[in-house]
Amino acid sequence: MKSMIKNDFFTFKKFLLILTVVSVILNFKWVIDFCFGAELPGNDFISDFALYPMMYLPVLPTLLCTVDMRTGWKQFGAAMPVKRSDYVGSKYLLTLIAGLIMICMITVCGVISRLLFHSAIDAEYFYFIAALFMVLNLFCAFVTPFCFIGRTAAIAAYMILLVVIGSSATVFLDSSLFDKQGLELIFDIRTQLILFVCTAVLYALSWLISVRIYQNKDL
């Protein structure tokens, strides 16, 4: 597994670095905006801009698989003393780690902003961040198995997901659900636990499906 992770890391070192720098800049812009007099809105927990780099996370395994296909690493890796499940695992782990890094940056920027404006750093903020991280991983869990079928399948799955999520979000934002009560649902520890369990189960299931797909594939 270690060799697979190393290969993926060396391959996408630049991409991850760019993603991190862009995230930092977008979050930093948020901090700067506040320093220049923007108000901290009551329900805004994170910068909208900070979400954009995160949208690339679910396609990270697809990008890695595409590079592997182009370079021939899939074949080279399969001939090495490494299990195919390790190849799959490295994609999941790298996505998870990249997601963790980005969410940590958003959290740190949020905490700094709140400290600057003497706002309370309450549990709600962290609940929101945790919910965001879990939803992001649900995205990844949905898209990743498709990248082991093929790049086209993965991109199609991601596009469908974006359309579904986009239209659901529009309905959700327009509906009465998105009010104080709707948000309070996220701040409930039971909701958080349910979301965590669902994410963990679906992530594991996605991992297993991907291994199953990749295990018997001719490379």
């Binding site: 060799s3 074949q75 399969a78 299990k83 001719d218």
Partner: protein
């Protein structure tokens, strides 16, 4: 003990079937896989390396059959594919880093030593290397983890004669240890002739023959005669023939040819070419 043992290995593709291939490579020997383009050489190598899955048959490496821990056996297998299938942005240190995590017996000193011996600059990215350099890196990887078996797929293809000769020398060096075996496929039959103890000849997905090279030389020979003399020979004696207005030449089985006919020696390259041509001539003759 056999380094490789393959029984009834079969792989079905649309338009091509690797058809029940069986052979074994004894430990300490070099076997060459010869065949025309699309004969199934690379398919066999990919099956042995686990890159593609077999449809039927069995593969056993070092006497150990298939099990859930098959990947561990690959620790003892070095391989060189037709291209160096690594990210072109990588440098030697990246490769060393990755391989040291993959192979239990990876030796960084050996790796860098081999690169140095082959004049490969350590700081050079793969994308800046020539085909010959890439192949040398591939060979250095294959030889840096104390592998007992080397599997090479067209490793000498596209290399200039000087580099090819160096590669052949390196393989010689490798097989000095009696535990080391090599399975190599190549179009360049002259390289295989220099190297191999055994020759496996593939044609249209079928294993036509698999013999010791010296025995092949003993069994087959070349005759130069007239068309009439050739037509008088037993069909089973003629492996392949070529004729023109000046006469005919054919590869024949020595034991099936009447005594008195002058049979000259042949080489693997001629055997390979004539075996490939054999069927075409028959079709031509029928017309």
């Amino acid at each position: 003990m056999n380094a490789v043992e393959v029984k009834n290995l079969t792989k079905y593709y649309r338009g091509f079937t690797l058809d029940h291939i069986s052979f074994s490579l004894p430990g300490g020997c070099i076997m060459g896989l010869i065949g025309e383009n699309g004969a199934g050489k690379s398919t066999i190598i990919k099956l042995l390396l686990g890159i593609i899955r077999k449809d039927e048959g069995s593969i056993s490496l070092f006497g150990r059959g298939e099990s859930g821990r098959q990947h561990l056996l690959k620790d003892e297998v070095g391989f060189v594919l037709d291209e160096l299938k690594l990210n072109c942005e990588f440098r030697a240190k990246n490769i060393n880093n990755i391989m040291s995590s993959a192979y239990r017996h990876w030796n960084s000193e050996t790796f860098y030593g081999l690169l140095d011996k082959m004049n490969i600059p350590v700081s050079k990215r793969i994308k800046a290397m020539s085909r010959g350099m890439k192949m040398k890196v591939g060979i250095a990887i294959a030889m840096s983890h104390n592998a007992k078996l080397l599997i090479l797929d067209e490793a000498t293809g596209g290399l200039d004669p000087v580099v090819r000769d160096e590669v052949v020398d390196m393989l010689y060096e490798f097989t000095r240890d009696e535990e080391h075996s090599v399975l190599i496929s190549s179009h360049i039959v002259s390289d295989l002739e220099k190297l191999c103890d055994y020759i496996a000849f593939l044609h249209h997905g079928k294993l036509v023959l698999c013999e010791e090279k010296d025995r092949l030389m003993e069994q087959y020979g070349m005759i130069h005669c007239t068309e009439k003399q050739l037509s008088e020979l037993d069909c089973s004696a003629v492996i392949g023939k070529k004729s023109n207005q000046y006469g005919a030449e054919a590869i024949v089985r020595r034991d099936a040819v009447p005594k008195g006919l002058d049979i000259g020696p042949t080489d693997i390259e001629k055997l390979f070419v004539f075996m490939n041509r054999g069927n075409h001539n028959e079709e031509y003759d029928k017309k």
